[in-house]
Point group: D2
Chain length 337, copies 4
């Protein structure tokens, strides 16, 4: 940690600060210039609260030198984490495609979509039972019934299922789910993250609309701190001034997250853009720069979908996208799981 | 609702769309140009899913003409809502200042701060018992004990208390709290909002870091839809590219929210900037453009605060800010509650 | 300047870097921890290129401790700059309102608006002769003729004139203009800024749509470096994800710019929001937090304006806004110039 | 164009608006609902100023149905434009890599880099003679001498040269340059764009840091409106809240620009991220989603570069990136020019 002091700071205040820091077991080196003084802190600074330092009126700015995340930090865990999901592997050389409808709507719908996406090569089935909708008047999901229908679709197809949790109150309903998804709007629902840290299931954690990569990894750290490191990171677009797409896919997040962390990274081109014609080009871009998988919305009848129809592919469109995806993954030496 | 169709769209697809719309009880007027066709929909379009419309390949774009929120919409409720909090009024000509520490840390601390802010003219006491922190290794709040301490501080000072809820699992602990705060990170925690819709208590709803005013009002609508319209909206800064301040206070939100909605609007200059020297100028700016109140962080010893020290005022600084605030509120003909 | 090195960096590379830095006349203090090494540089580091430092593979990050701007920095010039414009003073306790149409359209129009805004209390006249328009098919301004008409309006009313320059090629046409405006889109047109550094006229410099306050002050520094410190800074909104307003007025910029710099700061509520009903509340907010003036669009017939009609006030609306502005400025102890 | 009127608008004001619109030769269809009225305008609405419409107090909002750009619009020119640069083709199935240093620094430097990048497969040489720098105290480029050195490097290697113009005042110096670059900061320097519309040379137009795709295409339209359609669009990252990268590469811009326009699109991974390790993954992502080329910074000695060293590759790193780029371009059936 580096502390830059304001010009001509008063000696007693400086001594008080230095004393307070020393009591927290760090070694301090002082760099004194003509007008500025800098304190360099060495040792375990992770417990020193930056805000408390910044609060002193002699302090101009403070900066951490080491990343605040540890368990999800590649520096301390150089090897790629492989998340095992009911026998399938996610990460390190494998390539998985999670596909399915935005919302589970009926047995017929989810069964049909599950079979279709499996035929085209999807390796996991997604489907929303609990749906976070901007409007209280929109369809809110089939909830418990939706999870039942997903479990039936799994029985039929063998595809492990991924579905979103919106509240701790529902956690018992997720007992048989294969991967629990945390949506973008809940990325900083810290009470939820803590609980998922000891739920014993793989977590698909989506990046929040306005969260930095560091905040994203800190949310993963919340889960990991509870003992669960079976975490799949998902880049799904951030909010910017551009209105041509629903969000802006931050493609750089893929190679950066893989540099910073050992966790697998998947990309959601459907939510990132909200435009079906962009799903294929962005899927290929994601593969080309190192993603470990994709999550794609597919609906048997997008125009009658109860949510997110505009960004859903038909099974035929998905089949066509998968042909390109498989070729591209093979070219990048990724093995379709 | 207006639907703009792509050029030269096929007749059978157009007929299918028109038929589907008509079955949803709306009246359709078709505007046919040389290359484009536009459908104007009239009647109650609030149940028509825009995404389903957008999903059709003959549709270029869709736009709602009416706001998707109703219960919090000024058009349908032209009179200002006054939220009553234990005998005090918030909104319509009154001016309230909610002050207190970021986190409740000890009996001594909260008691001292409560007395000080009361002396300076604060009308409600804030204090965090459950704290949303980016890092799992940071202080997470005193939790249930924190609420106990707030209740004691209320007994001592008579100030109603405002404190943040982070999970439905804790709702019983909030039985005696005067105002329940929903933090920026939970603004779209829809399951929480639904429950607060029938909790029988006033809600202080903070705008999310990357949420539009429309999304903000839709979250208020979630609470109102459950029957609770005692909602105080709080602008607390949005995330932008500017790094000089922690967030960017969207000052225009104040007059706009008051145009769009009948709910009272307060401003949090502490979180909006993270810089103590900006609390006074931004407080005055908020008053000047119509805010109904402020929420300000005050800590007896910011440099030893367990959270957010850098943006907390000392009681002395707060007292000085309050002198200006009172004069300005009086000048704007707002009555200090 | 502080340089944080990567872990376990190689000795020869470190020696090369230290030698290169020493040849640039700075004193280096090395802070060596268990895993990280930090270099603290003291002396005049303004000529050291941060990018060159960052380019070395042993460097993790670099940070400047001192602001890169000097001539516009309050640290080196603690007293407020007063910009004198044809006898009027802008800054330090005065309050100026610059008003007029987006575009000069005809003699009749500019004369009428000039007289009206003068009667209401405006102290300078604005009007666009050269217009930066997004579309090549939109009205591009009356250009040289527009400047002639502004000069006539000045003769008639005595109001000094402010008008925008779009290209160095036109500079001779600005010989009799009182204040040259640099628009948001040209804030980083560095060749233009350099030339304005020795034009001998006050400059109204608008902040770019996506520029930080530091970049804004660096652009002012370009002008000041040429010898011209008669610079008026203008906050006019930044681009964010929010679409309810044309831009987001960064109200914090006002007190911050006044902390960082000695230059006067004015606010443009018309461009910041694009909504006439917000001009009054934002004007008052700007005054309340320390602005030295306002720039407001006024048009005799907004609905037939050739540009920006939607955000222009009528003379009657402007007169009403000015009544509030004058009271508020008086309350804040600002003297209407 | 669609005009949505406010509720219960007054008849005389509506008649005035309709009359004014009719005089501009458009056909109007009125859609009258219970509370709202909508006007649908058909015909050539490109000359109707949206702002003037919005300025009327009976208008709630206005929306264009047709894109405001024509000459660069794929709807009117379905075939891909191929820009010919001194015998080389850019666009439609070809793949070009423009490489070279941020700044031209010396004959030795530019000659060496030019030869190296040519050997590795670059097809054009880039190099800055006029440099837009945030600080007036940074190296501003060799200016006229820099262009001379580029011309010598071209003679030696045969590579056509691309270099940035910063002011119309320098245009004569660009007489022998192959491609004139317009930088991100000048994307809306409309006077410059107009002049380049009849300069008879291909233009590389970079997207502004905070400009939408529509604004980007409108700037291209400025050049095209002057008669010059030899325009290469360049996506180089936009400004967002994320600080891990210098900018955020908007990868979706590539397929969208190619849908909207017939112009070729290249990507600048160096400026988009400012991080050398991201140049290769983002280059491959750009190829995978349809880019027609890349522009990459290469410097013989990045750590002593006079500008942008941190994001420059060494010739050895560039050679390695080019091996992957060539394979990927071949896989995507793009022909290296």
């Amino acid at each position: 940690m580096i502390i830059i002091l304001k010009e001509n700071c008063e000696k007693p205040k400086l001594d008080e600060l230095v004393g307070w820091l020393e009591r927290q077991d760090v070694k301090i080196t002082t760099v004194t210039g003509t007008s500025k003084t800098i304190l360099g802190l060495l040792g375990d600074t992770s417990k020193i609260d930056m805000e408390s330092v910044r609060a002193r009126d002699i302090v101009e700015s403070v900066r951490r030198v080491q990343e605040p995340y540890k368990k999800v930090n590649r520096k301390f865990h150089p090897t790629d984490t492989i998340v095992e999901v009911s026998g399938r592997k996610i990460g390190q050389g494998t390539f998985n495609v999670i596909a399915g409808p935005c919302s589970v709507e009926s047995e017929e719908q989810i069964t049909l979509v599950a079979q279709k996406v499996k035929e085209s090569g999807a390796t996991l089935l997604r489907g929303g039972a609990f749906k976070p909708r901007t409007s209280p008047y929109s369809f809110q999901g089939l909830r418990a019934d939706g999870i039942e229908l997903l479990l039936e679709a799994r029985k039929l197809t063998g595809l492990p299922i991924v579905t979103e949790i919106m509240s701790l109150a529902h956690i018992d309903l997720f007992a048989d789910v294969d991967v629990i998804q945390v949506g973008a709007r809940n990325m900083q629902n810290f009470e939820l993250l803590k609980e998922l840290g000891h739920c014993g299931k793989p977590i698909l954690l989506k990046r929040g609309l306005a969260n930095t990569l560091e905040e994203f990894l800190m949310s993963a750290e919340y889960i990991a701190a509870g003992g669960n490191t079976d975490i799949i990171l998902c880049e799904r677009g951030i909010r910017t001034f551009e209105t041509a797409t629903r969000n802006t896919l931050d493609i750089s997040a893929i190679p950066l997250l893989k540099q910073y962390s050992h966790l697998p990274v998947v990309v959601d081109p459907s939510h990132a853009t909200g435009i079906t014609s962009l799903v294929e080009p962005l899927s290929l871009a994601a593969i080309a720069c190192g993603a470990d998988g994709l999550i794609i919305e597919v609906h048997n009848d997008p125009k009658h979908a109860l949510s997110d129809g505009a960004q859903s592919l038909t099974p035929e469109q998905f089949d066509s996208v998968m042909k390109s995806v498989k070729k591209h993954a093979a070219f990048m030496r990724k093995e379709m799981a």
